[in-house]
Amino acid sequence: MAATADSVRETGSSMARAQWIGFQTIVRREYGRMIRIWGQTLVPPAVTATLYFIIFGSLIGSRIGRMGGYDYMQFIAPGLIMMAVISNSYGNVVSSFFGAKFGKHIEELLVAPLPNWLIVLGYVSGGVMRGLLVGLVVTGVTLFFTHVPVAHPLLVIASVLLTAVVFSLGGFFNAIFAKNFDQISWFPTFVLTPLTYLGGVFYSVSLLPDWAETLSYANPILYMVNAFRYGFLGTSDVGLGVAFAIMAAFAVAMFTVVVMLMNRGTGIRE
């Protein structure tokens, strides 16, 4: 009996070790992909952020004055960093996973003894990695234009991590259902970008008319941008507890749904 229990334990631990190696391999492959195509992954966000700071920060921002107690450029900086994190964590997973489906090399993972939750976790880690790296690049650009204080570093880290996880999972969800390249650009163009722009990146929602302000609270990105901004500037349009609860709820719900879809074989198995 003891021998059986030992062998079960040994088998369990060797399987866990094999899964850990599998997970590392997916993350390493995603990192390799991101670095291999650095001209598409790391450079464009830096260029875009530079243009935002020149146009909205220096040219227009100087005429706007202060917002939330800070210079306009300081006010928009956390939102611009978060915008880059959102679009890059989403974009990394949707293009990588859909590319794997399209090129059929997703089969390399599907035939291997990896559980679906681990495959999802591997791709999401890749998305988070790119989101954070691009976030650092944009932060570097930001510091070239303005000084941004960091009031609560842990909140900065927690909010950017949760947001990157949520949007990496969003990219995975999109890639599962996408049947062609049009369908991986549809959601970012028509849903993600409008929600990001209307999510308080460039303004405080308190400046909006009542109806627009009320409507803005239905936009989950508003909570992410404001939680992140609070971490830097100590000012927010929304309650922090609500913001983190929403982000955590989205992360858990989306992970559950995505793993469920993978287990059902939606979009990946005949």
């Binding site: 399987m15 070790r17 094999a18 899964q19 190696i21 599998g22 590392q24 391999t25 997916i26 390493r28 492959r29 390799g32 291999r36 794997a100 090129g103 059929k104 090399h105 089969e107 390399e108 993972l109 599907l110 035939v111 291997a112 003894p113 990896l114 559980p115 074989g265 198995r269 005949e270």
Partner: protein, 311 residues
């Protein structure tokens, strides 16, 4: 021990196509097994289900005793698959593809690199290790997929038309490699449209058609069921009219070539005696098609005729 055991396997696709209609199949450990059938017969669907790329509609599949419904990870660990279509990332380097695949199977990085080198050398791809996969020729891509399938040292290797589009020299070197792998104990299941390949390599065979196994026996047993062969005789002198060969069906395809159908109970000696009596000298002889191919065509054709009759 059985490397593969399939019972009552069925698959109906969402569009209503019934690809498998209840197949039973056993492959013994260490076997070199051919799974043959015409296009659309259900070979790739069967392989897809074994490797979990296709969801079955019904039935049971066990790989070395591991049921894919209850011990999928263990079953997967036993299998290496070389698919019909190229399915690696064309932008990745050859060496990286192999090492990553080992990682997906939980092989530590150092060991993965050692094995990648070993298999790439054995398959004459080592000097291409730093090339991106898309720069390889068709034959190299096929060999890369074999190396990738072997890197976790599976007990069961499944090859779905591994030599399609590969020139004869590389095909024969791949045969030698597969024989060696099989000789070391790896069970191999092969699907191919080159029936000479199946006859040369495999010890046991199943023929699938219309989602059903229509023949399942040893290669010698299957070939033994062939009750008629067609021979092509090359004649030394031109012959204007077909010679008289009572009891045989024959025809001249040109004035130097005679085709003759010989039943199992008939003999070639009698044919040669009659040709000699007619003053016809034969300088060479060959089977019109490979024996397995002839049997395969007859089996599939007879099923088609029966199907037409039923309809």
């Amino acid at each position: 021990m059985k490397a593969l055991s399939i019972r009552g396997l069925t698959k109906t696709y969402r569009n209503g196509v019934q690809a498998l209609r209840g197949i039973d199949l056993d492959v013994e450990e260490g076997d070199f097994f051919a799974l043959l059938g015409p296009n659309g017969a259900g070979k790739t669907t069967t392989i897809g289900i074994i490797t979990s790329l296709v969801t079955k509609s019904g039935g049971e599949v066990q790989v070395f005793g591991h049921d894919i419904d209850h011990e999928l990870a263990r079953a997967k660990s036993c299998i290496g698959i070389v698919p019909q279509e190229i399915n690696f990332n064309q932008f990745e380097k050859v060496f990286t593809i192999i090492v990553n695949q080992a990682g997906f199977y939980g092989i530590p990085r150092k060991l993965a690199r050692e094995r990648a080198e070993r298999y790439l050398r054995q398959l004459q791809l080592w000097d291409k290790r730093d090339h991106t996969a898309r720069s390889l020729s068709g034959g190299m891509k096929r060999r890369l997929m074999i190396a990738r399938a072997l890197v976790h040292e599976p007990r069961l290797l499944i090859l779905d038309e591994p030599t399609a589009g590969v020139d004869i020299e590389i095909r024969r070197s791949m045969w030698g490699f597969l024989r060696a792998i099989n000789g070391q104990g790896t069970t191999i299941i092969l699907t191919t449209h080159y029936l000479e390949e199946a006859e040369s390599l495999c010890r046991n065979i199943a023929i699938i058609d219309g989602g059903l196994i229509i023949e399942n026996d040893s290669m010698a047993g299957v070939i033994g069921k062939l009750n008629q062969e067609t021979f092509v005789l090359n004649l030394r002198e031109p012959v204007a009219d077909p010679p008289s060969l009572p009891g045989y069906v024959s025809r001249m395809t040109d004035d130097h070539t005679l085709e003759i159908e010989v039943l199992k109970e008939q003999g070639l000696n009698e044919v040669f005696e009659m040709l000699t009596r007619n003053g016809i000298e034969v300088i060479s002889m060959r089977n019109k098609v490979n024996r397995l191919e002839e049997l395969f065509m007859r089996l599939v054709a007879s099923r088609g005729a029966a199907g037409a009759g039923n309809a």
